[in-house]
Assembly symmetry: C2
């Protein structure tokens, strides 16, 4: 049966995204069966991550150093900036191992419904980078949802006066996908953006 | 992008049951966006739960006191013992708010495949309770899977010489269930255990 400290742990776990009350309870009971070393390890991993990780002052990515590994890497092309919603998106794109430019993490997308305006995300910092640096291309890689599209259009319009090349990642049928299971909007995008072969 | 301490946190979270690598990564990134207070709260909730919770020496349930609340409660009927696989099962049965007896937590079920024999779970302690106490009924509430059924039969056979009433929780169609979606074995059990109305 649960005790006060099990209930507290369960409530804390339950606040994490995607962890419902049943999962939180299952995790809490599992944690009690772990060794002291494992529980202490998890507990200090939480504190260490929170303590040592901060935002890169250049791109807004997570880092433990003064500036992040990508901004510090001389082999990365500083003239190409890929704009993403959050730091997790950087790790997704890096998995590709193909992109050699750098990033700009917005820390959110425009969402008037949730009260998120242009000043609440790192758009000003992006404009400054374009203004000051030798930027040739800005790739808008926000998600293809309402907020992501709105944010991409907003930034594209804002960057127009600087004459920088602004691109949007392609939308279409995923590789390995099947026409039967692709939604109509994706299908429409795939048709619209068809290329001659 | 991930750093050493994000990777460490992700790896630690990934070891928890039901937390795959993608969920672990999502949680780790979410944790970095929490306030210091929230991260410290979660971190110490882990340590506190592990430090203050131990097994009740009577029934094997989790407790923060000398013996658990149920064993310590004078209103609970000590002559009825409900045998369950683990402490989580106690909290499920308590949710019913109907059962007034006490419990015996086995801490596992017999599973020769995994090398779990009668000496590895708290069967000896159950026999001692039946031998020494004024026990009228032992309710076997292990799960209706292979290991749970085998454990229930084993305990029933072991308790036979003591002349104590040994019962098994009923199996059948869940309330709100539908014949169409119930598996054949449950259906068979439901037919077999039919009652006159």
């Amino acid at each position: 049966m649960s005790t006060a400290s099990i209930d507290n742990l369960t409530a804390r776990l339950n606040r994490l995204p995607g962890i419902g009350i049943k999962t939180a309870q299952r995790l809490a009971y599992h944690i009690l069966t772990l060794s002291n070393e494992d529980v202490e390890g998890l507990s200090s991993a939480l504190l260490n991550a929170k303590r040592s990780v901060h935002y890169c002052p250049v791109c807004g990515n997570f880092t433990e150093n003064d500036i992040c590994d990508i901004c510090a890497n001389e082999k990365r092309d500083k003239s190409v900036i890929c704009v993403v919603k959050d730091a997790r998106d950087v790790s997704y794109l890096e998995r590709m191992r193909e992109y050699r430019g750098c990033y700009h993490v917005l820390g959110g997308t425009l969402s008037p419904m949730d009260g998120v305006g242009p000043d609440d995300i790192r758009i000003k910092e992006l404009v400054e980078r374009v203004e000051n640096g030798k930027v040739n291309e800005v790739i808008l890689a926000t998600n293809p949802d309402v907020e992501g599209e709105a944010t991409a259009s907003y930034i594209a319009k804002l960057l127009k006066p600087f004459g920088v090349k602004t691109t949007r990642i392609a939308h279409g049928i995923p590789i390995g996908g099947n026409l039967e299971y692709v939604d109509e909007i994706t299908l429409f995008k795939a048709m619209e953006n068809r290329r001659e072969v």
